[in-house]
Symmetry: C2
Subunit: 457 residues, 2 copies
């Protein structure tokens, strides 16, 4: 049974229990569900079934800590709806139980009036922390970090640090990586709990800690944070402000979410789709339309160049209509080869496998590979050329194929580097853009060759 079928069954059980007001059954079933699973069920109830009352009732059945945990997994708009149905009292307690990063995210969704009311009822330190975390720009390290880390004052002994870990354990996001803070609040070093556990109780953390810490600035792009965590196999990466003070950490699971999000964004960009705020099955239709239409319309006009090219060669075409037979094939092949080359580069640059300095080396490689691809495809298409229009047409088609595939591949390979150079995201070199550019060039190449060969010019 697949996970989704299992979840479907759980959902039906929960709904039945709700309808029958069978509290006993709910209390038996709810604890069996993991937060990630329960939140998926609630999300479907809220969005597909539009059944917010059931969501609220189910959340009410959960103990406070679990309620906060499940809520944190839900998409923003559902969190907001749930929060709006809660009294200030309840919302405050739930916020308190949430991880500091999720608390800040939910807080940012609330209306200003509600924010004011809640802030006024919080303790001073809590308020400052929340205001700070909520203030970082989306997409930066600051926006995804949590302030629930274990800070160890410099100078502590191992046994003192161990005590501190035990005290902080219930609230910290991770207790496995400890951060040693000097008297000025600066990050002096890190120490893993593993190192702490095998150390002599009387030793000082300052003598054990690793001083050469990998950290990120609070305004660092979130994809860069994810890349660091992956590269150095980190449990969490510390985030520091301009004065090198530790302000938070980004944990491995949040980094993994960012990496997935970024990969999805690049996927969509690769097909000229703008950044969606949510999964494709949930994002509003109007937003889906907007994210897709811009490039589509731009590409319509770019395609006019192909049309103009065809119009320019109208005489050649009228003289030998058979040439049109090979037009989709030739420009299609160039577009496909070019889109392949562009994709290889864009993804290579995104994963850090390809750097700008590799450009010239890759150009040589692409020349060889694209040349071989063009020759292979020319051989495949030549017999058809002979069949449809004789040897002259076959020669025109084969020559055009090699030229177009070579040109398309080189264009597809170079475009991401050029875009990167002028400060654009290389992923803008999407398959549709590359294909459209090659279409227009392909028309020119094909008919130029055809005109010169067939009219003997």
């Amino acid at each position: 049974m697949s996970l989704s079928e299992q979840l479907q069954e759980h959902k039906e059980t929960l709904i039945l229990a709700l309808e029958q007001e069978d509290r006993e059954r709910l209390d038996q079933w709810l604890p069996e569900l993991r937060a990630a699973d329960l939140s998926e069920i609630l999300e479907e109830m809220a969005e597909d079934d539009d059944d917010l009352p059931s969501v609220l009732k189910l959340l009410d059945c959960l103990p406070l800590e679990r309620r906060a945990n499940v809520l944190g997994y839900l998409p923003g708009e559902v969190q907001l709806e749930v929060a709006e149905a809660m009294s200030d009292e309840v919302l405050l307690s739930v916020l308190e139980e949430m991880g500091s990063d999720e608390r800040a995210d939910l807080f940012n969704l609330l209306g200003e009036d509600r924010q004011e009311v809640l802030l006024r009822r919080m303790a001073r330190q809590e308020r400052e922390d929340l205001k700070r975390l909520a203030s970082y720009e989306e997409g930066t390290a600051g926006a995804i970090m949590t302030s629930d880390y274990v800070a160890i004052p410099s100078g502590m002994t191992v046994s003192q640090a161990m005590m501190r870990v035990r005290q902080t354990a219930p609230d910290a996001e991770t207790v496995y990586q400890l951060y040693i803070i000097d008297p000025e609040g600066k990050l002096a070093g890190t120490l893993s709990l593993r190192q702490l556990m095998v150390a002599r109780p009387g030793a000082r953390v300052d003598d054990l800690m690793i001083k050469d810490v990998i950290s990120v600035a609070v305004d660092e792009a979130q994809e860069e944070v994810a890349r660091l965590v992956a590269r150095y196999d980190m449990l969490a990466v510390p985030v520091t402000d301009a004065d090198e003070r530790l302000v938070g950490i980004v944990t491995h699971d949040d980094a993994m979410d960012v990496a997935e999000e970024e990969a999805t964004e690049d996927f969509h960009k690769g097909m000229s789709i703008g950044q969606l705020e949510d999964g494709v099955s949930r994002v509003p239709l109007w937003s889906l339309y907007r994210k897709r239409v811009t490039w589509l319309v731009l590409l319509v006009f770019a395609n006019l160049f192909s049309g103009a090219g065809i119009a320019y060669f109208e005489d050649t075409i009228a003289a030998q209509v058979a040439l049109v037979f090979f037009l989709p094939l030739l420009i299609g092949s160039g577009g496909n080869a070019g889109a392949q080359a562009a994709t290889l580069m864009v993804r290579g640059m995104a994963t850090g496998d390809v750097g700008v300095k590799d450009w010239s080396k890759l150009l040589g490689r692409e020349l060889l590979v694209a040349g071989s691809l063009g020759l292979t495809m020319a051989l495949a298409v030549a017999p058809i050329g002979v069949m449809r229009g004789g040897e002259a047409v076959a020669m025109v088609v084969a020559t055009s194929m090699v030229t177009i595939v070579l040109f398309g591949s080189l264009l597809g390979m170079c475009l991401p580097f050029v875009l990167n150079r002028i400060g654009w995201d290389p992923a803008t070199a999407s398959a549709p853009l590359v294909t459209t550019l090659i279409d227009a060039s392909g028309v020119l190449i094909y008919f130029t060759i055809a005109t010169s060969v067939l009219t003997g010019a």
Copy 2:
């Protein structure tokens, strides 16, 4: 300064020190480099500069444990070259220091004779462990798991377990998640080190552990393992055999590597590129050619359908050559819209956001969005139709645009589901395939409408 520039500098320093045989400088510089960075430098030396002797010399300067660690980061073929240059003695010590998963990977690369020699010199338990880990099929949980986990026999007290953690700490991949094993060797439950630390020393682990463990079978696909780790924010997922015995764990960092690998594979598939064994800048040219050529040639033949469609309507075209002007634009737009729709579905299915049961709901959404997109693009292109061929042509072009975009989008949306249904990878519904199919259909739609309107049939 970017990371890669920093690394370049480090590399030059190391090479200079090597040339001058400045051992003191090497001993000062090498410990400053992290394993991930040093291995990147060595990789470039081995592959781009073809300078294996320097790689070997540098590795020789490292203490054994570090040498094993750095070696594990290198690509397979470099590891193999390094291993072949080592004596059996040295290689054995290095293998011993490696993580069990990396040890098995390197072992699998060695020739059979060398494997035999090494196995004969190992202790029995070590030999069995290595043979077992090396035997799992690539792409499964077994192939990426490590056997260096902390197993706690069922029945132990908290303080006994704590002692066990301290003993195992130097060798275990992670000590933060503990696995409780019953007398039959079955996985009875898990316990986090955090829970253990705050528990009463006399309590029994059996009373504290979580019994409802998320685990994977040893032959589970690696992408499924990565998905579970991400979904449940796990530090590591336990791997069990057919008898529910714990045989290994997959840690979060290895899961993150798999997720990145899978995303890259899907990216490439989306552009009809086969699975590469290595990054695009390193994979052999011949392999790059092979991975790209198959689909390109297949698509050449698929494109023949477009050509055949055009040939069929030769009379219409000859009568009104102006129609050809709009051909690239119309089929291009349909292809772009279709590729967008396919990409949204393929990625949604890969991330688990879209399930097969969502099909009908998504169909309705796509109908609305694609209809609006088609209308917008028809409006954009209609004035050009009027300019180039009068109102009748404009009407033909606008009608064709709506029809082709709608048809293309629905085809692009449905194809991944159909492929999934017949047991293929939805990512096979690549942009080039979708575009080619829509090209052919677009030709038919366009000229059918044109023939019927312009000849008044």
